[in-house]
């Protein structure tokens, strides 16, 4: 799992690559928490490099959504791959997440 981030127009774009599971999820959570702690609450997660997630990944997402929205921010996704989409559907997360076709659209959604 690789995580990068960059700031685009006041929005923090977090680029994830690899699989999200019980091993990698805590690091992602930690990474996101660090941003939230610094006040970066407008978050976009680029999931185009994420080919797989288990329920552990969903907990990361739910945690991020709750933390950011509680601070009037949000956590939005782009680039969702089919296997990840299946999991989102399965869990009903499709309903509570905001998804965008690409990073630019997601960033733009904050403005």
């Amino acid at each position: 799992m690789e995580i990068h981030d960059r700031q685009v127009d006041g929005v923090t774009v977090i680029v994830l690559k690899g699989s999200i599971d019980a091993i990698t999820a805590p690091k992602i959570t930690e990474f996101i928490q660090a941003h939230i702690a610094k006040g970066n609450i407008k978050l976009v997660a680029d999931f185009s490099g994420v080919d797989y997630t288990s329920s552990a990944g969903l907990r990361v997402l739910l945690g991020a959504i709750k933390e950011t929205r509680a601070r009037s921010g949000d956590f939005r996704l782009t680039g969702i791959q089919p296997d990840v989409q299946k999991v989102l559907n399965l869990s009903g997360f499709s309903n509570i997440l905001k998804k965008y076709a690409d990073v630019n659209a997601a960033v733009a959604s904050y403005s």
């Binding site: 599971d21 019980a22 552990a56 009903g92």
Partner: protein, 1317 residues
């Protein structure tokens, strides 16, 4: 009737009267014998003959004449038989035989007489009776019939037989008969003459039978002979049969004291020569110097008529004689002679004297007896008591007990008892059985006496009692004591763990204890009465058991033997035997058997080890020796004596080490040895000159260490390395070897890094040290370690060290990642970047200025990777700007970087957990981290093969490791399992070193042709490196290294002293063990290793393990054991995963909560039955790290089984969720076990079975999430299990074994046909 006269009448009447008179005289004799009766009968017969004939003659009537003729014949018939009988009795001829048929002799004459009387009827005896007139008288003339002649013949036979007997007797014994013999001769001859005259002469007509007349002559002659010579009183027969044989001397003298008879006994006693003394006078005998004869002669001087008795003693010869003289007189009182008897009474006399002496002695003896002796009368009054009796009862003199009643000396309680005893004695008159009895002494003390009482008999009457009393007080007390001791012995025997046996003197077993029964398998009853030989003799000790007992009947002995058990098995025993006493008497012997099988085995092992060591030492290139504290050589290996020019070890042993030291080195060597002895510490290697046998000198390097016994230095051992030899061989080393050494040196440095890392937890310190090490390892100008900042935007230089101390440090500087292309590449790609020219390369443009300032061109940037994440970089610019970092350098740097990363990771972990962990636990944790970082992250996937491993960490850091990797550009796969000796951080570091060396030396090209050679090189190089560079640490590893060619199934392997891996076939039978092909690796340089081969056919397994497996202990300290291991795996397995899973479950059941002191490492692989073996299975240690492998397995197994991608994804996700749950909750707070996954498709249904041996938890406990809820209502947990249920058609979860849980995930395949597409 008128009687007629006959002229011959007078010749009949006179003999008749004479004969009748003789007969009467005989009968009137005072001493009558049978002979007398026969003689009388003969005389009466003759007399009847004569008288009846006379009456016949005077009877005129013919009838009466015939009657008297018959009577006459009665006399005639009696005479021959009686004559014959008398002859027999007088001569003794045929005496015994005749006596038996005597009455039958009378039968012929009786029958003949019957015929005579009845002659008128048959005329067989007399045919007719003629009457003859002779001178006026009538005489009867008999006409004889045949029976008459029979009678006559018979009569003559008897008469002549009698005459012959008498004649022979007379001729042979003439002298004995004396003058009487003449009478006998006349008596004998008379009938012969008379009869001859009657028969052959011419008697006048009518002359009667003259026989009676002649017979009268015989009778008179006999009577004279017999009575004149007293023949009938002193019968020759008696003389012969009795007198001559008498032991009593018999001497008969007549009235004139002339010797009549003397027997040989008398001659001997009189001391006279054996000759005839008939007629000699007694006084003549006396003159012949015979005291006895003289005594007898004197006794008869007065011609006494009384019997006399006297005794004559001859003191010189100790002989005594009784002389008894009997007077022989006739009825008128006239003396006819004396019978003198001599009896030798010497012995009787001596016996009498002896008796007197014996009685005196007896009393004396009785008085010296320690036992009491008494005699008492029937009333119990003491009539005799010996000194002991008096003394034992506390009295001082005989008078004190004399006349006292026995009961006075009896304990009150025993009075009745003793009364009964004596009663019994007098009733039975038999000695009593010995009985114990309490006696009372004068002062009232009681002592116990064993008493024997017997009656004193007088004929049939018991007139008293005598008894012997033995004081057995001491014995009885001793017996009590013995009983006590016996109890002690019994309890000893019963409770002793040592087998014991007691044999009696005949070597029969009398007692065996339970330990004996247990050791040899014989019960007490079975062993009883047998000899040890029968029970225990074995082929190697055929009759030892009894021989041993013979040896030890008298003394103690200790032996070691091999004996046989009841079941035939042999057991080594140590035997200690000792004579065994009961009540002070030797009873037999006691043998102890100690089972020393274990000890012998240990000793044998030790010996084997020692001989192996000795052999190993001989194969060394260097000289090795051991010496005692005096410097005397006690051991030397082959190189030692060969090097010094000797021809055998024996030549060197016992010599002083000084002899092998050159004079100029003696002092320094001596001082060093002294230091060694005083400090007991290993000496630094030092050079010295040594001396050959021929006096030449060489230079060598010596390493000496002390030989310790406890803390005492008892000697020294050392190795001597010929330096010149080393220089020569060093020169001969090839370039390849140089390269290897370089790499080895690098790895040595690596060890230092590892040591540094492990020694400190301060991250800054660690990294600073590492930088220093890096600068010394590589030809670099400096080393800088940069860690990503938390926002991952910068690299903070946390450690820096420069080769040139004047170089400016960049410590603390934060380099931005953005724009730093080289660093980004390193971090993102997680790989090393090497830049040849940092000043011009676009990737380093952001630091081009700094590079120019510093003159940096060639630079290597290595990523720091921890748990799969890049956390920083190490930058290393080369000292030589043109330097090209080699592949080796890069790999080494990467290896170091991985350790640094682990250390950083640890330090960060440590920072988090510092407060919770104590220092010791931290150290262990670090060690484990180091260790676990060196296990392969994933196992190679090889088509047609299954591989599974498991590692169970010990509480302490240990030195186990395993490795599975494929050689570069090859499918050849290495399987390594090893155990570094010892435990602790040191062992862990060596494990790292071993592992690194093996990996480094495995960087080679391998193919079918060189695999054997290359494998050997890997092992030999590793061995030599460790032994040469780390020999002082004495670390080594048991190591199995196999190189498998998956295409052919052929594996080459070296087993360096490791537990032999097990090979199973597809049926689960153990078909082979891969035994060691060389020693443990790293002990000594240049050891011999051999490469062996094994070919795996389809379905074959290999299982390698470390001793932590078999030594795993349960709560009771009991080991798992190799037997159990073999038993657990010997079964047909569908996959290597199920085997490893089940084995691990069993192991963990055994271990329970027990913390292990040694790592447990298992490595196994299996050749599948076919490339697409029906079973899809995997087994991995329950770490999150394995999660990716596990879910990928589920997916690929599903795809391979023809499932659609979405179905395969369902299994992948479900497997992930279940495994995550198990790993996170099932093994929470416990050592991770194994997770086993199997996948199969049957009846249009796909099934994934997941097993674990963790805690049981119910997946249904999780609350079902509400997936319809709004975001703020959603909860974090519960989704995983929810997914599983959603994705699968059927989910079951249960506990199938005490410790094994099982998830079964099933999914119905909806469109089977499309699956194929």
């Amino acid at each position: 009737m008128a009687y007629q006269t006959n002229p011959y009448l007078i010749w009949q009447l006179i003999p008749g009267l004479i004969l009748f008179g003789i007969g009467l005289y005989i009968q009137s004799r005072p001493i009558k014998k049978r002979e007398s009766n026969v003689f009388s009968l003969l005389m009466f017969g003759g007399s009847l003959w004569a008288f009846a004939n006379a009456v016949q003659l005077i009877t005129p009537n013919i009838g009466w004449q015939r009657f008297w003729n018959g009577v006459t014949y009665l006399g005639i018939m009696v005479v021959p038989t009686t004559w014959f009988l008398l002859s027999v009795k007088l001569t003794g001829f045929l005496h015994e035989q005749i006596k038996r048929i005597e009455r039958w002799l009378w039968l012929p004459p009786a029958l003949l007489y019957l015929f005579l009387l009845t002659s008128g009827l048959h005329k067989l005896f007399f045919t007719a009776f003629d009457t003859v007139m002779l001178g006026g008288y009538v005489a009867l003339e008999n006409n004889y019939g045949p029976l008459f002649y029979v009678h006559t013949g018979y009569s003559y036979v008897l008469v002549i037989a009698g005459i012959v007997m008498l004649a022979v007797s007379l001729i042979t014994k003439f002298k004995q008969y004396g003058v009487q013999a003449y009478g006998l001769i006349i008596g004998v001859l008379a009938p012969l003459i008379g009869n001859a005259y009657f028969l052959f002469g011419s008697p006048p007509a009518g002359f009667p039978d003259p026989t009676p007349i002649i017979f009268t002559v015989t009778g008179v002659a006999f009577a004279w002979a017999i009575f004149g010579g007293h023949i009938l009183e002193v019968v020759p027969l008696a003389h012969d049969t009795i007198v001559r044989k008498l032991s009593t001397g018999v001497l008969i003298v007549d009235a004139e004291k002339h010797i009549r008879d003397i027997n040989p006994a008398a001659l001997e006693m009189l001391g006279l020569p054996a000759q005839s003394y008939a007629g000699a006078s007694l006084s003549e005998l006396a003159k012949r110097n015979s005291v006895l004869a003289w005594t007898a002669s004197e006794a008869l001087n007065d011609a006494v008529q009384d019997d006399q008795e006297m005794q004559v003693a001859f003191p010189e010869t100790h002989r005594t004689f009784d002389v008894h003289i009997s007077h022989i007189g006739d009825q008128l009182g006239n003396t006819t002679g004396w019978l003198i008897q001599f009896n030798d009474v010497s012995e009787q006399k001596q016996a009498e004297e002896g008796m007197v002496a014996a009685q005196k002695t007896l009393k004396a003896i009785l008085n010296t007896l320690p036992d009491s002796f008494f005699e008492a009368d029937p009333d119990g009054i003491i009539t005799y008591a010996n000194r002991a009796f008096i003394k034992n009862l506390g009295f001082s003199a005989w008078e004190d007990v004399q006349g006292q009643n026995f009961r006075k000396f009896t304990d009150q309680k025993a009075v009745r008892d003793i009364f009964e005893k004596f009663k019994l004695l007098y009733e039975t008159k038999q000695p009593l059985e010995p009985f114990e009895y309490n006696y009372r002494t004068k002062n009232g003390m009681v002592y116990i006496g064993e008493t024997t009482v017997s009656p004193i008999m007088d004929g049939e009457r018991a007139i008293g009692s005598r008894g012997l009393i033995r004081d057995v007080t001491a014995r009885v007390n001793a017996e009590k004591e013995i009983l006590k001791q016996k109890d002690l012995l019994d309890s000893l025997l019963q409770q002793s763990p040592i087998a014991m046996v007691i044999n009696d003197m005949t070597k029969r077993i009398t007692v065996v204890n339970p330990a004996f029964e247990k050791l040899f398998g014989y019960s007490h009853a079975e062993a009883l009465g047998k000899s040890l030989n029968e029970l225990l003799a074995s082929a190697s000790a055929p009759d030892e058991a009894d021989q041993l007992s013979t040896i030890t009947m008298s003394k103690r002995a200790l032996r070691e033997k091999k004996y046989k058990r009841k079941d035939g098995s042999l057991v080594d025993v140590e035997i200690f035997t000792t004579p065994f006493f009961v009540g002070g008497e030797r009873f037999g012997y006691l043998a102890f058997y100690n089972d020393i099988s274990e000890r012998l085995k240990a000793e044998a092992d030790l010996e084997k080890t020692q001989s192996t060591l000795s052999a190993v030492l001989d194969t060394l290139q260097d000289s090795y020796f051991e010496a005692d504290r005096n410097g005397t050589i006690t051991f030397a290996n082959r190189p030692f004596w060969e090097e010094t020019g000797y021809s055998s070890k024996e030549e060197v042993l016992g010599k002083s080490f000084r002899r092998f030291v050159a004079p100029d080195s003696v002092r320094s060597v001596f001082e060093r040895f002294e230091r060694l002895y005083q400090t007991g510490k290993l000496l630094e290697p030092f050079d010295y000159n040594y001396r050959h046998k021929d006096g030449s000198i060489s230079t060598a390097e010596m390493v000496v260490s002390p030989i310790l016994e406890g803390r005492q230095v008892v000697g020294a051992r050392g190795t001597i390395h010929d330096i010149s030899e080393r220089i020569r061989s060093a020169n001969a080393l090839s370039e390849a070897k140089d390269a290897a050494e370089d790499r080895a040196r690098d790895l040595a440095a690596l060890t230092n890094v590892a040591a540094t890392v492990s020694q400190s937890l301060d991250l800054k310190d660690i990294l600073q040290s590492v930088c220093q090490e890096l600068v010394s390892i590589f030809e670099i100008r400096n080393a800088g370690i940069g860690l990503l900042t938390p926002d991952r935007k910068g690299l903070e230089i946390v450690a820096f060290h420069a080769f040139d101390p004047n170089e400016q440090s960049v410590l603390g500087m934060v380099l931005p990642v953005e724009g730093n292309v080289s660093s980004m590449e390193v971090l993102e790609k997680k790989r090393t970047v090497f830049i040849q020219d940092a000043q011009s390369d676009p990737r380093t443009s952001s630091i081009a200025d700094i590079s120019k300032t510093r003159g940096t061109r060639s630079i290597m940037i290595v990523p720091l990777l921890a748990r799969g994440e890049a956390i920083g970089t190490i930058g290393m610019p080369a000292r030589d700007p043109e330097h090209v970092f080699t592949r080796n350098e890069i790999e080494l740097a990467e290896t170091i970087a991985s350790q640094i990363a682990a250390a950083v990771d640890n330090a960060q972990l440590h920072a988090k957990t510092e407060s919770a962990l104590d220092v010791a636990e931290r150290d262990l944790e670090i060690g484990r981290q180091i260790q676990s970082g060196f296990f392969p992250e994933s196992l190679p996937q090889i088509p047609g093969w299954e591989i599974a491993t498991h590692f169970h960490a010990a509480r302490q850091v240990a030195g186990d490791f395993y490795d599975v990797f494929q050689f570069r550009n090859s499918t050849f796969t290495a399987f390594i399992i090893a155990d570094v000796c010892d435990k602790g951080v040191g062992a862990a570091l060596f494990m790292v070193l071993f592992r690194s060396l093996l990996r480094a030396f495995s960087e080679i090209k391998i193919n079918t042709d060189n695999v054997q050679e290359q494998l050997l090189n890997i092992i030999v190089n590793t061995n030599n490196f460790i032994a040469e560079y780390h020999g002082k640490s004495n670390m080594f590893a048991t190591l199995f290294f196999g190189v498998l060619d998956p295409a052919t199934g052929l594996m080459h392997y070296v087993n360096g002293g490791h537990e032999p891996p097990i090979i199973l076939d597809k049926n689960g039978s153990i078909i082979q063990r891969l035994m060691p092909t060389g020693p443990a690796v790293g002990m000594f340089p240049e050891m011999n290793f051999r490469v062996a081969q094994i070919r795996f056919t389809e379905g074959d397994f290999m299982l390698g393990f470390t001793d932590g497996t078999t030594d795993a202990r349960n709560f009771a300290g009991k080991q798992f054991t190799e037997e159990r291991l073999l038993k657990s795996i010997a079964a047909p397995w569908s996959s290597v995963f199920s085997m490893l899973f089940e084995l691990n479950v069993e192991l963990r059941e055994h271990i329970g909560e027990q913390k292990q002191f040694d790592d447990i490492t298992l490595i196994s692989f299996r050749r599948k039955l076919s490339l697409n073996d029906g079973v899809h299975a995997i087994c991995r240690t329950a770490h999150l790290a394995a999660l990716g492998e596990l879910r990928d397995f589920a997916e690929s197994a599903a795809i391979h089984s023809g499932l659609r991608p979405d179905e395969a994804f369902a299994f992948k996700l479900a497997a992930d969720e279940v495994c995550t749950n198990i790993i996170q909750y099932g093994y929470e707070g416990r050592e991770p076990g194994l997770l086993s996954l199997t996948f199969d498709v049957a009846d249009n249904q796909a099934r994934l079975i997941i097993r674990d041996d963790g805690k049981y938890f119910s997946p249904d406990q999780a609350k079902r999430p509400d997936i319809e809820a709004e975001w703020h209502e959603r909860e974090l947990g519960g989704l995983g299990i929810f997914f599983v249920h959603e994705l699968m058609d059927n989910v079951t979860y249960n506990r199938i074994d005490q410790n094994v849980n099982q998830f079964i995930l099933e999914k119905n395949l909806t469109n089977p046909k499309s699956n194929k597409e």
